[in-house]
Symmetry: C2
Subunit: 138 residues, 2 copies
DNA sequence: CTAGACCCTTGAGCTAGGTCGAGAGTCAAG
DNA sequence: CTTGACTCTCGACCTAGCTCAAGGGTCTAG
């Protein structure tokens, strides 16, 4: 038999490394199921809530939005198309990250060129950075 | 002599490719100087306002925040330490972008590994993605 | 002169993901 | 029983960078 653990919101916040307010926020947002309550109204959790919170945190670290995480959580409970869906979402996220990196790289290179060309002194009109920012075309 | 052009907010918005509301917003935020007004209250701009708007747009594309752009604009008018300051800010921005790219790359690699390891079918317990998200350590 | 396009101000709302405060009730140790 | 830590709800606020609505005045072509 499984031991029925009973954790307060403060305890799971501590275990999962998130703020109490964040947990209540996730509950409102449907990322966490509404937990049972003590007669006093206190929320009562078991260990699975901690896993779920960690799941959310990990996914967030991977750049998923809360909306996407909601989907992942739904899929993770689906024994039929769940894994397929999860893989799809992860692949999509991966592509989004790749796109973002490519975009940043483009910006980075443009900026690096300007910084290298700039002597760091002299008249504003001779600064390639300022000139690039001010020039009329595109 | 320079021809005194007189442009309405709609015209410079058009020329610079930004929304009218955005221009008024920039004015409130101190990115654009308060223009002179017609007796009716209409704002009157000259061509330099368009340059300035383009400057802002370019800088934004390079990832500068409006706060940073305010600084750049101030520096660009400074004939003494202006160029030095601009170069410093640009270098700092470059470093921030590099850091961000490195961070994204890290996330990307982690995610790519999981996606590759995931068969895309089978039981949720066998999905490396779900397992990685749910596992108890850090 | 009039219609329609343009402009004015003030103030609110939006996104995403929380974060905080007030005011009140509850729990556990001593 | 008391005290201090914990929890409850509700609602407001935060960042950044806009974006929109309401209600009104202005400009210009015909």
């Amino acid at each position: 038999m499984t031991t029925q653990t009973s954790l307060t919101i403060g305890r799971i916040a501590q275990s999962a490394g998130v703020a109490i307010d964040t947990i209540r926020f996730y509950e409102r947002e449907g990322l966490l199921p509404e937990p049972r309550r003590r007669p006093s109204g206190y929320r009562e959790y078991d260990a699975s809530a901690v896993s779920r919170l960690r799941f959310i945190r990990r996914a967030k670290d991977l750049g998923f939005t809360l909306e996407e995480i909601r989907e992942l959580l739904a899929l993770s409970a689906d024994r039929h198309v769940g894994v397929e869906g999860v893989r799809e979402r992860a692949a999509a996220r991966l592509k989004a990250i790749d796109d973002r990196i490519a975009e940043l790289q483009r910006v980075r290179d443009g900026l690096a060129e300007l910084v290298e060309a700039c002597p760091g002194h002299g008249a504003p009109e001779d600064c390639p950075i300022l000139n690039a920012l001010a020039e009329p075309n595109p």
